[in-house]
Symmetry: D2
Subunit: 361 residues, 4 copies
């Protein structure tokens, strides 16, 4: 379904070429001072047309909050949450539906065209409809609200582009300046690696092709004790959140896949007397519950399937046909996916925090 979370919950709606993208944030704590400019700023990080790396579709993407808030005395752009649901919309201003007319009867390879048709018996062929990444606008808005709630708890969520194609930022996050994430258009805080990533993306783009990569994330300030022990393990919730983002193919936390060739004696995080650990192979989560150390994770994005060159495919009758490039698309989605990864992580952590309160009557 289209609802995410247990207590802090986002229900989202909207297609690429419908009237609007929007959602309802339920379960937001009351009394939170909500800076609307910070929400818009996160949307702007996700917005196309930010740099020469991203599509030129200039959507504007202004969010309007419709409920759940009252005026503060601080400023016009600061509202106070009332605890009731926050409805919001972002109008789809820049329609080019006719760009997609020739896709009405064609299934694009490695897209959701065929699978939506198989599931629903019909589909909105314009720009991918609900399967378009424009859907993530609602995630970024809700995540920006969650981030502000986490900020009052001194919990911080950061994500960055850690790899594009084979160009990887090998440095551990503790040796990166995470305030520099937005200093490069590619959102890699190691600026020399960022430069190489940018060059690769432009080269791939010039070839009409696309490229994948890895986004890394870290959550600091998270107290010990968050997460549910069995099916709702904190990393299972984080993983589901990340895997629900378009183009994601894998998720790992802590030492992840690299841990499989290690011995248990190498992976043990021995305790300090204050219950912090000397190492953090666990990635801040043990037995599905946060241990107070930074939570680290990585998310694999495939190269997206929309190429800017002709491709062979079939139509809805199975007849061979060719599709021509159309619309405006990113050669690499990672730079714009960074705020989406942060948004999903923020929602998971806030929800886990609110869930944990139930246990202390």
């Amino acid at each position: 379904m289209n609802t995410f979370g247990n207590i802090f919950r986002l229900t989202s709606f909207g297609e690429s070429h419908g009237a609007a993208i929007g959602g309802v944030v339920d379960g937001c704590p009351p009394g939170l001072h909500l800076d609307l400019d910070l929400i818009q700023a996160e949307l702007d990080r996700r917005r196309p047309g930010q740099s020469r790396l991203t599509t030129s579709r200039n959507e504007g993407d202004r969010v309007e909050l419709l409920s759940g808030i009252i005026d503060s005395r601080e400023s016009e752009s600061v509202k106070i949450t009332t605890g009731t649901p926050i409805g919001f919309i972002v109008r789809n201003a820049d329609h080019h539906s006719s760009d997609y007319d020739d896709l009405r009867d064609v299934f694009r390879p490695s897209h959701a065209d065929y699978t939506y048709f198989a599931k629903y018996g019909l589909r909105d062929h314009r720009g991918g409809g609900r399967s378009s990444a424009r859907e993530t606008i609602a995630r970024v808005v809700a995540g920006a609200i969650a981030k502000q709630a986490l900020s009052e708890l001194d919990i911080d969520v950061k994500a960055w582009t850690a790899q594009v194609g084979s160009i990887a930022c090998e440095r551990d996050w503790t040796r990166l300046n995470l305030n520099q994430i937005d200093s490069s258009p590619v959102r890699c805080p190691d600026l020399s690696v960022a430069q190489q990533m940018e060059e690769l993306i432009l080269r791939v783009k010039s070839e009409g092709d696309t490229i994948g990569g890895i986004i890394a994330g870290v959550i600091t300030g998270c107290p010990a004790g968050l997460g549910e022990p069995v099916f709702g393990k904190l990393h299972a919730q984080l993983g589901a959140a990340m895997l629900s983002i378009n183009a994601v193919k894998g998720f790992e936390y802590g030492d992840g896949f690299a841990s499989v060739s290690q011995r248990g004696s190498q992976q043990a995080d021995t305790f300090n007397p204050d219950f912090t650990t000397a190492t953090n192979h666990s990635g801040g989560i043990q037995g599905g519950i946060s241990n107070g150390m930074p939570i680290t994770f990585r998310v694999a994005f495939k190269p997206v399937a929309t190429l800017l060159r002709p491709q062979a495919t079939v139509d809805i009758h199975g007849e061979p046909t060719t599709i021509s490039p159309r619309g405006r698309h990113d050669a690499c989605v990672l730079p714009r996916a960074v705020p989406i990864v942060e948004a999903m992580a923020a929602m998971v952590i806030l929800d886990a925090y609110l869930m944990s309160l139930k246990l202390k009557p």
Copy 2:
């Protein structure tokens, strides 16, 4: 919480050293002919003491179904589901609680001891309590029921040990004989690789250490159209299911992490006239919805934290102490985790199948 699934749902309970492990399977379709011997057979695959690779704890682990079934006319061991919830228990027969007395006031490194304490303010220190892998008994029982329902739909779920430490079975699943999975104690269908894995595990065990690995899985016969398009993407559900298993650190599907260094043009799965695809980089899921091709995924398991040699740690006051090896533990959990991975996959697919019915009134 302790419930998994939307329509086909498992609610589980039980600790390592409590009276029993058990659960309730809700939403099982009525009229299913349920072979109790097949359920027990799956439990036996998970059971310790199967081979020299696994712990010698001989638990028996006999499952008793308490409700939701009526007698069939076929045989004593075949029951018919009624559509009402199926309660079941497996008694914990082999208690050695006193093995754990010296752990009452100690936090073991990289276990859930400290995090449970942080979450609940108290913990059941005997054998890990709820964080023990004995909890997975309930998953295997529910998964064995799901498998039988899937079997009537000609959907098949298979998992196997694909890597132990650095020893990997490189062959694609289509070139493996998946009927040979149980032919080796390590549950790798490539028997020569299995032999090397087994030797590695025994060597690690003799050192009192542990080793991780990767379990691969494939789901065949799954129709196109399963999965929810946004937050409930089929691979997000599968990922959450796998990440909820003890010791799992990562999940990928299709080409997974390897896809990040590829170009979009290399990853495109072009259609055949019957809407199958010439390649399967997508891993059977596109836009979060199954496309009818085999669903492929991989799950990373860390080396488990329970060593069979002394380890330095701290007690609940933060004072340094040493823990001695105790209990009986696997040096590598993968052989016994294979049926757990299959069980979780089966539950996810059946649930997605039942969810998909809602859309055709």
Copy 3:
């Protein structure tokens, strides 16, 4: 939380004096031909200012659907659902927030002012905020969608004013012309009783007072087999739906409270050979599951607490004060509550129908 339903789900938002009331309908079957005029017509039935019985607040209340639909070839006002969530909003056009300034620091008796403050620590004092009956706009929109889906299944939901104060329409529904419900402003299909009800309401209104009543409902065409047997009994879902409407104090189905003084032998609904029943004391539901007979129920509404005359109360410091009448309010909410009751019933039945599909793989 602000979500209703299991598969067909409404998530709603909005306050009386915020920017908009709206919601998201998730789980609507794809391929449904949705007549937007029928949705607006239901909203118009709920709208204030319809007759001299209702408040003069002329809100307009135009609904805009934002997603989940594509154009049909039939007409501009007929859309086709895609199976993705349907977001919608109704702008709050007619703000008189300043009407409520003197209520900022006052708790009105028998309203939600004090309880919201106790729950959230703050409240939106303008027109009751989220506790305002304007919230029901979202229910009516979602219910109008559900009604159209039910219509394709030949299931019909009707409600009417059966009692106002002590003036009751005693006739059984089978002896009423339910096509006449909207023929009187009070929405009682027995037009002579309707006349008396109308006179009573006008008299009560002239006294600055309010009056309660009973709305009756009947659902015809519902197949046998809907509902969940234990906690989700069909009448429990219906009851919860009705009790969630503002001002409702009671719910009964079938013979309801009147059955308590009867004998079991009097209440038995004996079967006809086609499994219909000779009588319908059960009200169309047995053991929580529909039996194919008409589903009958009744809903008690208290006289609403907003009087049009001065009332003694306390301020937020507990000091005695007097509130003066303000805003525009109905002396009797039942005429406008009829479409709300129908909307909630339609959602419950459609959801139960969609849930029942899960059982036939």
Copy 4:
């Protein structure tokens, strides 16, 4: 489905003539001192064969808790909850399945026989299967746990038989001695009315018939602020809980159906300076949220359909037949339903309490 509640959740299973009735209580706060004898005492209140009013089926009904608890130092029968799920079972000891052989192909009037068959395509005909009131055993166990948690919060839940047939206890609860509820077999604290009720039940029983009635309830000590404002209004949750109990036909709270013929000016509960109210027409809930006053409600039970005399009905082919009385059944279920009503109310209030914690980070 078979799960009740949001945070404090009961998932139940079991049929009348299966192996056991049981359930899983999830979300119980950790650190609660749980007296097993008090749980058993509640079960004993529900048990048949307590008095000459109830069936003679002597089931014993001993509950066994299987998980989620550790030993206390107080006594053998006091355990401490760990926050993990509490699994429990009650064996069905007293099988007389053969009593029901002649019902295999018959639908009893006003039972769930036909509706279960319509829903599932098959049914467990023995003693009603899942539709048997034995299912409520799980509710009473979970409710007894909830009551103990509420007791630590000084919240008290009481229910009693307020009416049998036309014999009603007219006195307001504040003028009854609620410690006398269990002093009469009929569980009416007004002992002279209880005597009349008892006589009526015995007379009805001697006629092979059954009789209905009303159970009243009051919850004291509940703080202001519990309940969700829109769909999850506290009284909607209470209503759904009560309507899910076998044989319940109606629910009302506060002045309920009687309020409909009153004026708003008569129903207003004016505030005292401490925010208590001078009257309690509202029944302790305003706008769906508790206001700190006692929560009052009433539940209508129909006369149950199982008569102790022959009845005309049809078989599964629609052919007329006659059923003879069988099994052992209560002529009036209210005395044994009192602990069930209390159990459901306790679960609702505890769940609402735990939900309310989410709002104060």
